[in-house]
């Protein structure tokens, strides 16, 4: 910060901060370092095919699906709360969406907003109970983890007459003009154009090996940018950090903490709904296991991305890279000679390192004494 007023003097007690030291204070630093390390690891151990365009798309697709959830989870964690029901919410809103299109035959222009509204309502119920009861969100949303999963099962059986899978979504949405925004690949024309000029890999017939950018990756990037903008540049972002940092101090300073927290629960639920809509349309069906254990993966990605479990600190960019690390590890192991089940060991290790690292960083930032 430079000062232009004449009486301003350069504080002699302020050591000039190196770029590195400034970087150290950013919450996403750990995740970016993690991406670099994981990339180096796979550059050495994995088949080079992993880092071709199709290989990258291959790991970015699950990373994006998880990342959309992780960014929601990160914002909620910065706001000082948890949501363990995200994964079940994916199944539940997936059921709602599939039932809306297949069973009730709604066009997407009705079904999609209805799914978001429905999920936001469930999210606000989560938030409302947490705020009203003063209970830790951990326990309230743990209850919803089971409630929503159970309701998804029961609902599926009701909708299908006994099955736990609801099919026919693809036929139901066939030709709907909204479908390309939530399914398939984006920028197909550009990829074809690049293929014509030999800039991307092609099949023998000249078609590009990658037909386009999977739509979830586009959503993932848009949501990461939007969340970063909100967190760093808008009053709402300031309220989120304040609500998570110290809810009482924030309330006393005029931050509408309850409203902020309930909104964050709604945002998280809507992130789950978006993933549900994208994956249900992609698969053409929904089932009761959709989103299984995604809540843990999303929270892990958020923590790897620099979120503190105690709230008030973290970033959407961090969660973005945290999810990419996740995708790289899950898919990357298939390109190596390692047993894929190393994935869980790797993940637990990453989580532990991230938590220790975040703790140290927090002490640096706050100069905790």
């Amino acid at each position: 910060m430079t000062d232009t007023t004449p009486q301003a003097v350069v504080d002699e007690r302020l050591k000039s901060e190196s770029f590195g030291a400034r970087l150290m204070k950013r919450p996403e630093l750990g995740a970016i370092a993690g991406v670099i390390l994981v990339t180096i690891f796979f550059l050495i151990t994995a088949d080079p095919a992993m880092f071709t365009l199709s290989g990258i798309i291959n790991f970015m697709t699950p990373a994006a699906q998880l990342g959309i959830l992780a960014i929601g989870a990160a914002m909620l964690m910065i706001g000082g709360e948890f949501d363990l029901s995200i994964g079940s919410m994916v199944a539940f809103s997936g059921l709602f969406f599939a039932a809306a299109t297949v069973t009730f035959g709604m066009p997407l222009i009705v079904a999609i907003p209805a799914t978001f509204l429905f999920s936001a309502a469930v999210g606000s119920l989560n938030g409302f109970i947490v705020i009203r009861s003063g209970l830790p969100s951990f326990i309230v949303t743990l209850a919803f983890l089971f409630i929503l999963r159970g309701l998804s099962l029961v609902g599926l059986k009701l909708a299908t007459g006994g099955s736990t899978q609801l099919r026919g979504v693809r036929d139901a949405i066939e030709g709907d003009w909204l479908a390309p925004i939530f399914s398939g690949d984006a920028f197909g024309g550009m990829f074809a154009w690049l293929a014509e000029r030999g800039l991307v890999e092609t099949f023998n017939n000249g078609a590009p090996k990658v037909p386009g950018l999977p739509i979830e990756i586009v959503w993932f990037v848009i949501i990461a940018l939007l969340a970063t903008w909100v967190l760093l540049r808008t009053p709402a972002g300031n309220w989120i950090f304040a609500a998570g940092g110290d809810a009482n101090a924030a309330t006393n300073s005029g931050v509408p903490v309850r409203r902020v927290k309930i909104s964050l629960f709604m945002v998280t639920a809507c992130c789950a709904a978006l993933v549900a809509i994208i994956t249900v349309m992609d698969a053409g069906s929904t089932d009761a296991r959709r989103g299984f254990q995604k809540e843990f993966e999303a929270i892990i990605a958020a923590v790897i991305g620099g979120c503190l479990l105690t709230g008030g600190y973290g970033s959407a960019v961090g969660a973005f890279f945290g999810a990419i690390i996740f995708g790289m590890v899950v898919i990357g192991l298939t390109y190596t000679g390692f047993d894929q089940d190393w994935f869980q060991v790797f993940l637990g290790g990453m989580l532990l390192i991230a938590v220790l690292f975040n703790n140290a960083i927090r002490k640096r930032v706050t100069g905790e004494r």
Binding site: M1, A8, N238, A242, T251, G254, V365
Partner: protein, 272 residues
């Protein structure tokens, strides 16, 4: 103890009060923290609220700044009955408070703390965003006018010293206190220079026609700037005195509940 004439005191202006609190009671479960307190603050005066630890001072000002809803009693703001549902309501009405615990977030920067809840924006529609440059500038200026040169406005509040932190809270309240400024023991962590800065700031703010409520343990600080003095004891007012109607010794005695202090003074053989 010296009576102090550092600041010019007019006679307490006999204008209508900005905030008038009548028979405020506050119960926490079976604890009666306030048992009928009446208090008012007028434009351009500094009304000191004195009392021992646990007397109910903080609880009382929290009913004024929207944190607590009084169990009983009436609040009038500019002559109209008013009930603040949240600190935000009180702030919007022009009441700013320095809470005893400061209400700061250690992990957030000084600037973000300064404007927490009331961030200035620029742009419109989806491009509406915080005016970060203006926020930083205002924070630096506010702190400088209180005698502290901040190293950087993006420094986390957790890295500040207790006194610096308290100064941020005071500068913030002065910036936002359009009609009433409430200070709950604002000088407890401050050095001599910053304390006299705060007292000078109270004087300056009062001259702008703002009503100041100043809570202090220190009778000297109170006498230095106060126009009126109200003493609280065990949730009740022991009365309000105008400047000049009460001696420092009487005030000190009232605060400490009288006799015990006199005894202690006797046994220590001097002034406490």
């Amino acid at each position: 103890m010296t009576d102090d004439t550092k600041f010019h005191h007019g006679d307490a202006p006999e204008t209508a009060p900005i905030v008038e609190m009548k028979n405020i009671e506050k119960h926490f479960g079976n604890i009666i923290a306030l048992a009928g307190v009446s208090f008012d603050v007028r434009p351009g005066e500094c009304h000191c609220l004195l009392g021992d630890n646990g007397a109910g001072k903080s609880t009382f000002i929290k009913t004024m700044s929207g944190v607590h809803k009084p169990t009983k009693g009436e609040i009038h703001f500019e002559g109209r009955p008013m009930s603040f549902d949240s600190p935000r309501d009180a702030m919007e009405a022009g009441i700013a408070t320095v809470f005893q615990d400061l209400a700061m977030i250690p992990l957030m920067s000084v600037t973000r703390n300064f404007f927490m809840g009331r961030e200035p924006t620029k742009g419109s529609g989806p491009f509406k965003r915080m005016d970060v440059d203006r926020m930083n500038q205002t924070t630096m200026d506010g702190m400088r006018s209180m005698g502290i040169n901040l190293r950087a406005p993006d420094q986390a509040v957790g890295t500040l010293s207790g006194g610096e932190r308290q100064t941020v809270a005071i500068a913030r309240a002065v910036h936002f206190g359009a009609k009433v400024l409430i200070l709950d023991e604002p000088t407890s962590a401050l050095g001599v220079r910053q304390t006299s800065n705060v007292l000078a700031t109270i004087d300056k703010v009062r001259k702008q026609g703002i009503g100041v409520v100043f809570i202090s343990h220190n009778v000297r600080h109170a006498l230095a700037v106060g126009d009126r003095f109200t003493v609280l004891n065990r949730g009740k007012t022991l009365g309000t005195a105008k400047r000049g109607d009460i001696s420092p010794e009487e005030l000190q005695d009232l605060m400490a509940g009288g006799q015990e202090m006199a005894q202690l003074e006797g046994s220590l053989g001097g002034t406490v």
